[in-house]
């Protein structure tokens, strides 16, 4: 029983990190039609900057979180404003450009921070563990679950209850009509891209407990984000949340039950979802 609970908690905390990674990419893909393959690399920028601020400069974890998010947000915004905005509705060019940035950002991180992987880190007050069903359990993971839930609710509210969210949803359905109605979609898209990159960067710091900063993150995280988006469906916070939790829990139990088939359960889930519902569990029809 406690074996089950421990693994479930592990799966949920992993799933929350996956949700944070995938949510921004999913919204950008759904709302703006932009395939941003550099999303994992942007996550990595956040993780490294957060490590530098929180661990290297020994500032607080909160500052690291903010710095990681801001750095990632600015990198994302620079790519969107400088280049991606010329490539709306050109998926081939977007794929080539953003994959170029995976190479560029990864190599720059290697240049700045060196090749050695950083130890997982977390906030001072979250180190250590507490007792749960007679077992010790790390506080940081529980904190990740809580923060993830709060962010999920916040993003959900942003998507369904605010003007910003309405613009996004309108833009998804009919970009031209939305613009004719006097909405400045260009500016809205830049804001969305910034928020999406900010969340990825902050997730990089928050998730450093599970996925410590290393130069392979750019591709690893991209893979995870794509899998979550496939399972949950493109273009909604709910989809990313469901996909993230599902993949997090299934992968954690998969590793516990069939250690030699690590990752395979995740791919299998994805294939089954694709066969049953090709647009993902909560995907919009395209």
């Amino acid at each position: 029983m406690d074996w089950f609970v421990i693994n479930l908690l592990n799966g949920l905390s992993y799933g929350m990190v996956l949700f944070l990674i995938a949510s921004g990419m999913s919204i950008v893909l759904g709302a703006m039609g932009i395939t941003n393959l550099a999303h994992g690399a942007i996550y990595m920028v956040g993780a490294y900057v957060g490590w530098t601020v929180a661990m290297h400069w020994k500032a607080t974890f909160g500052l690291g979180l903010l710095a990681g998010g801001l750095a990632a947000g600015l990198v994302g915004m620079a790519i969107e404003r400088g280049l991606l905005r010329r490539l709306y509705k050109q998926p081939n060019e977007q794929v080539l450009l953003t994959f170029g940035f995976v190479y560029i950002i990864t190599n720059l991180c290697l240049w700045i921070w060196g090749g050695w992987p950083r130890m997982p880190f977390t906030a001072e007050f979250l180190r250590g563990s507490f007792e749960i069903l007679g077992k010790t359990y790390p506080k940081a993971r529980v904190a990740i679950i809580l923060v993830g839930l709060i962010l999920a609710i916040g993003l959900w509210w942003l998507q369904d209850k605010t003007r910003m969210g309405a613009i996004v949803r309108a833009g998804m359905d009919d970009k031209e009509t939305t613009m004719v109605l006097g909405i400045n979609l260009d500016r809205a898209f830049t804001v969305i891209f910034f928020i999406s990159s900010f969340i990825a960067g902050a997730a990089g710091v928050l998730g450093a407990q599970l996925l410590g900063p290393r130069t392979s993150l750019g591709l690893e995280v991209l893979l995870l984000a794509l899998i979550v988006i496939i399972v949950g469906g493109v273009g909604s916070i709910q989809g990313a949340l469901l996909g993230g939790i599902l993949i997090g829990v299934i992968d954690t139990f998969g590793r516990a039950v069939f250690p030699q088939l690590a990752m395979f359960t995740m791919y299998l889930t994805m294939i089954v979802v694709l066969i049953v519902r090709p647009t993902g569990l909560l995907g919009r029809k395209v």
């Binding site: 450009l97 994959f99 988006i229 294939i271």
Partner: protein
């Protein structure tokens, strides 16, 4: 405008002549190169073939696939496993089996992937490729002891007495496969079948309305494309002496996409130009700036998008046409 019969024949003669010139140049090149240069040329031809195979499904049928390495790697793994587990390296057995495995996997994946459209197709093909990656990564049967992947695969046995393969001779084997594929694929895209693929890319619902079974066209394009990717994968494993899960995964799947886009999408020889640029830039960057070559390569992608949007191949072609127009040497 319909070309007259005379014009078509003239075009055919020009095409044959230009391919003959290309074949002659490629056949003569090793004479001027060291073994290292020959190896590089071999690598270029293999990836040019890989990119051309991808161009069928992406450039002509308009399906943005992100799992093409699955067929490349499947061919490669088949010949590696035949050598490693069964000690078979007779080319006339390993190559057909490798092609068969790649084609069968393409036929299976195609059924699943073609349930999806647009960006979902990209996601599905990616997922399927990663599944094979994960399989070879986790199951010991796909690896030499203590390795991720199978190593120590020698050049194949051609069973021709007194003719053992070496780097130079293997280049010619690859060249023969490359030229044969160029001819076959050229005929394919110029046939009514190839034109129908372009029609589906441009407007699928109209083609359906006209009475084409568009699913079947896309499916066969996917499978044919997988077959040729398998050929490239087989040659690559022999060239590389080593096959690893990465050769099935996303890193390798990106290569033909990048080459095809860089060279000029949907043009027949664009991917070959893209492969040449990629392989040679990668090589020189890794010699002169071994730490920084990904930076240079990434920068190249970005510059291509900014300044040669239709692909470097098309850009060069325009440049050449502009030059020849200025000097009045031809009608272009």
């Amino acid at each position: 405008m319909e070309p007259t019969k005379n014009e078509t024949e003239k075009g055919l003669v020009t095409a044959i002549a230009s391919y003959a010139v290309m074949a002659l140049i490629l056949a003569a090149l090793p004479l001027f190169f060291s073994t290292y240069g020959q190896g590089l040329m071999t690598r270029f031809l293999i990836f040019a073939l890989f990119a051309m195979s991808y161009n069928i499904v992406f450039g002509y049928a308009g399906l943005l696939s992100l799992g093409h390495a699955a067929f490349f790697g499947a061919g490669g793994y088949t010949v590696a496993i035949l050598k490693f587990h069964y000690n078979i390296d007779l080319f006339w057995i390993t190559a057909p089996l490798g092609i068969l495995v790649a084609t069968v996997i393409a036929a299976l994946f195609g059924i699943i992937a073609l349930r999806a459209y647009g960006i979902y197709f990209l996601l599905v093909t990616f997922a399927l490729g990663q599944m094979l990656y994960s399989l070879t990564w986790n199951v010991k049967w796909f690896s030499s002891p203590g390795m991720q992947g199978i190593t120590g695969i020698p050049l194949p046995d051609l069973a021709i007495p007194g003719f053992d393969l070496n780097t130079t001779r293997f280049y010619y084997v690859v060249l023969i496969f490359f030229l044969a594929s160029v001819i076959l694929l050229h005929r394919l895209v110029r046939s009514p079948y190839g034109l129908a693929l372009v029609g589906i890319r441009e407007d699928e619902s109209r083609m359906e309305a006209v009475g084409y079974d568009t699913w079947l066209y896309k499916y066969t394009a996917f499978v044919i494309s997988g077959l040729f990717a398998g050929v490239a994968g087989i040659l690559f494993t022999y060239y590389n002496f080593f096959v690893s899960p990465n050769h099935l995964g996303i890193v390798t799947s990106f290569l033909p996409m990048v080459m095809a886009i860089m060279g000029g999408l949907g043009t027949f020889l664009g991917p070959v130009v893209g492969a040449a640029v990629f392989i040679f830039v990668e090589n020189f960057a890794s010699i002169f700036a071994p730490q920084r070559w990904p930076l240079i390569l990434g920068g190249l992608f970005v510059l291509t998008i900014l300044f040669a949007r239709e692909g470097i191949g098309v850009y060069l072609w325009r440049l050449w046409k502009g030059v020849s127009y200025r000097f009045g040497s031809s009608k272009g």
